[in-house]
Amino acid sequence: MALPKVKIDTTEARLNALSLPAAAGWTQTARQDALSRVTEMGLPIKRDEYWRYTDPTALTSVEPVAASVYASENGDVFGSTECLHVVFVDGVFDAEASDELTLDGVTIERLADSQSADIHWAKDLFGALETAGQNPVQRPLATLNTAFATDGLIIRASGKAAKPIHVSYLQTKTDSDAILRHLVQVDAGAEVTLLESGPAAARFNIVTEVSVADTASFHHVRAQGRDHERRAATAIFARLGTESAFKSFTMTANGVMTRNEVVIELTGDDSIAHVAGVCIGAGRDFHHDDTVFITHDAERCESRQVFKKVLRDNATGVFQGKILVKEGAQKTDGYQISQGLLLDDDSNFLAKPELEIYADDVACSHGSTCGAIDETAIYYLRSRGVPKAEATDLLTLAFLAEALDEIDDETIAETLRDRLAIWLERPQG
């Protein structure tokens, strides 16, 4: 079917402004393949089924919209966790600011450096999970990323990582436009945690491909919030082996246009995938979109999607989540909840929860709610002497609690709770 003209024009303009790396080494084939795929499918436009609630224009335009650089008086959100720190400034790895890339149980490389070689173990991973994740829903921004990613990390955990890897993004330019790709291979029995925080650029497109082998586990916690004018598309593609575990949590505050996609395929029996997020947003410009697609293609797997959004002052939150249970994926345990808490009458929460099940012995539940704060509970708290604003904050944090409970690391969870409380106490207006 012919693509709409606006899609062709958008795609052409964007692709013409980008160029493939001159010497892409082992990534060359995947990049060229991605370039032809993205040309063929075209970049997203608002008419596309999975972009109906989110206008992709700011993410597909030739130039990024300028974004101010914000300073914060609060230290890094993962500051109290001992980590291996890796720093990217405006989308470029900063060796000076980063720790030495050595960690027991793990090898870490920079993508840009690795391409001097023609052979690399990650060749089977780079673009492979992204390609597999295009069906049945196209994700052209991720394909664009495969073709044009300029930097990122290649992480291979062969044992239990001695400490988490913390990728800290810094923005110094108001017009930086970053395309980053991380590749993570967690070998059988290995464990690694990836933390991400900070603004990668004025506009950024970050894709992470994660292959979790049998009995391996991958944890991921991400904080988006320091970039008040963030325009970003992120995608995580994960493939899970037998008895493996994948857990990803994202806290989002501030920003203008954020689309976080997570695409997971449970291919080994008895594996688990938990994806959760909290988002707090204010203002007409705030638009946050979580789009999740989990495919059960093995027996006795468990998946959870827990997303909570607090919106005020004309903000918009979107959730599109799907559980697909393939034929033969018996004893699947799938759970999905998405909830919006609207702190005024002007904000919007748009949800599209989906279940598609082809196996006959599964337990899948899903729910989606949207509502205002419980006035009776507010009155109860006030009757005990708690001022209205404080009561509202307390109930808002309580609303977010179920999602925050998805974080295994209690220190990190506590820090995120504190940050959310600070955000809520910030003067409105």
Binding site: A377, L381, R382, S383, R384, G385, P387, E390, L395, A398
Partner: protein, 251 residues
């Protein structure tokens, strides 16, 4: 202590007058009971005094130790020393009971210009007071009133009262939904808080509760007014003969 004069209240949403001139004075250290048939306005009186939305005071006044209550926000009334034990305590998922209690205690201390209690100090006091109400550690950890039995909810109300140390306590049908043992436990909790400087207004349908919490004065409320006031014997009269005789006598 509590002074209510000619209080007239209607529902905000509709033209329905609920209280039609309530006059009531509760002196310091005294326990007053209000009894009355369903729909007489007893619960409305408690809500209006605590500042719940949805009611409009059309006439009259209410003050606590001379301070006009009706002009204050609910949290300011609480800070002034007013406490309402709810007939239906509210469930708050996601907020631990302990967090709730500590937030309330510290909010009131703050509004009075006192230092907030440290976590350790607070814990000590709450444990001790919870123990006498047979509230275990698990109940303190669970979300406020979520999954609590009827008796647990009412005990939890009394625990809040014990922690907040109000001077004017209103108990709105605290006996509803309680079995005999729970009623005894709750009553003991209330009696332990009786003191010279603290007054109680006990709203109930039944004499039974007043066997445990002995009132100094009993009022009968009907059709939005206090229609009869007497000693504890008045409650017995209601128990034996119902409201019909009293109401007929007043008419």
């Amino acid at each position: 202590m509590l002074e209510i004069k000619n209080l007239h209240v209607k529902l905000e949403e509709e033209e329905k007058q609920i209280l039609k001139g309530v006059n009531l004075t509760v002196e310091a250290g005294k326990v007053h009971a209000i009894m009355g048939p369903n729909g007489s306005g007893k619960s409305t009186l408690s809500y209006v005094l605590s500042g719940r939305d949805g009611y409009e005071v059309t006439d009259g006044e209410a003050s606590l130790d001379g301070e006009d209550l009706l002009d204050l926000e609910p949290e300011e009334r609480a800070a002034a020393g007013l406490f309402l034990a709810f007939q239906y305590p509210v469930e708050i998922p996601g907020v631990g009971n302990m967090t709730f209690l500590r937030t309330a205690v510290n909010a009131q201390r703050k509004s009075r210009g006192e230092e907030e209690l440290s976590a350790a100090d607070f814990l000590k006091v709450v444990r001790e007071r919870a123990k006498t109400l047979k509230i275990d550690a698990d109940m303190l950890k669970r979300p406020v009133n979520v999954g609590f039995s009827g008796g647990e909810k009412k005990r939890n109300e009394i625990l809040q009262m014990a922690m907040l140390e109000p001077k004017m306590c209103i108990l709105d049908e605290t006996d509803s939904g309680l079995d005999v043992d729970a009623m005894k436990l709750v009553s003991e909790g209330v009696n332990a808080l009786r003191s010279e400087g603290r007054s109680f207004l006990v709203i109930t349908h039944y004499q039974r509760l007043l066997d445990h919490i002995k009132p100094d004065v009993v009022h009968i409320m009907a059709n939005g007014r206090i229609v009869k006031t007497g000693g504890p014997e008045l409650a017995l009269e209601v128990e034996n003969n119902g409201y019909a005789d009293i109401l007929a006598e007043v008419e």
